[in-house]
């Protein structure tokens, strides 16, 4: 069970809506194993079907995490018209080089959060993408911010 503060869920959904018609993407930082902050990252593809996170913004976030003793808790993005489930593209791109599914995924500790705007209210679900390209859903338990710290 993945505890995520309501404020972070609301922020990811708000971001997904604001970036319509394109997919939105970002990262959630963790501290001591808890999700603490959500950070929007520019989708340089600016596409309804694809995302690619701004590399320099990612570097800045990674440097900040290093300074603050934080970790990459989650990688999130939206699907504007399809379900909140990793697409074949999402799975391929979780590996380096993309599609080399037999390796360890690029971010083995991070969970992939999908926000789907296909339904109202939007769906938010979380998945680990494992070696071999296996998709494992991790149920989300929405908590109050105070509980998560």
């Amino acid at each position: 069970m993945l505890q995520i503060p309501r404020a972070l869920i609301d922020e990811m959904v708000a971001h997904a809506r604001e970036d319509l018609p394109n997919e939105a993407c970002g990262q959630v930082n963790g501290l001591n194993g808890k999700a603490v902050t959500a950070h929007r990252v520019k989708n340089i593809e600016a596409s309804p079907y694809r995302y690619s996170m701004d590399p320099l913004a990612m570097l800045k976030l990674e440097n900040e995490r290093e300074e603050n003793g934080e970790t990459l808790f989650a990688i999130y993005h939206s699907h504007v018209a399809s379900e909140a489930y990793p697409s074949p593209t999402d799975v391929r791109q979780a590996f380096f080089p993309p599609g080399d599914l037999d390796r360890e995924p690029m971010y083995p500790e991070a969970v992939y959060i999908l926000v789907s705007l296909a339904d109202d209210p939007p769906q938010v679900r979380a998945f680990y993408i494992r070696s071999g390209g296996e998709i494992e859903e991790e149920p989300i338990e929405v908590c109050n911010s105070a509980d998560s710290r």
Binding site: C25, Y51, E62, E66, V80, S82
Partner: protein, 97 residues
């Protein structure tokens, strides 16, 4: 001439887990060769067998993407910071190749 190099994520694994290191060279390609001498296998992380840079790796000189400069022939100078950043991508598209 020592150039400061930053790497993240999976590329970090190719240089013994370091986030920052120094390397030498007058161009991006020379810098990659220099790092590969110290950390065999590094080149394969960022380029294919013919030396062409992988499109799923972003290389920046300071804040500029070398794709918009001269690619692997981009000149590097003392004081520059070169970053090797794997792409983080995906999306609902069935396949983006």
């Amino acid at each position: 001439m020592a150039i400061k190099v930053q790497v993240t994520s999976v590329i970090q694994r190719a240089v013994d887990g370091q986030r920052e290191l120094d390397a030498e060279g007058g161009t991006v390609a020379e810098l990659i060769d220099n790092i590969d001498m110290k950390y065999p296998g590094f080149r394969g992380q960022v380029a294919d067998d013919s030396g062409e840079l992988h499109r799923f790796v972003n290389i920046y000189i300071n804040d500029e993407d070398i794709r918009y400069l001269s690619g692997k022939d981009t000149i590097v100078s003392d004081g520059d910071i070169i970053s090797f950043l794997p792409a983080l991508a995906g999306g609902s598209a069935a396949c983006i190749g």
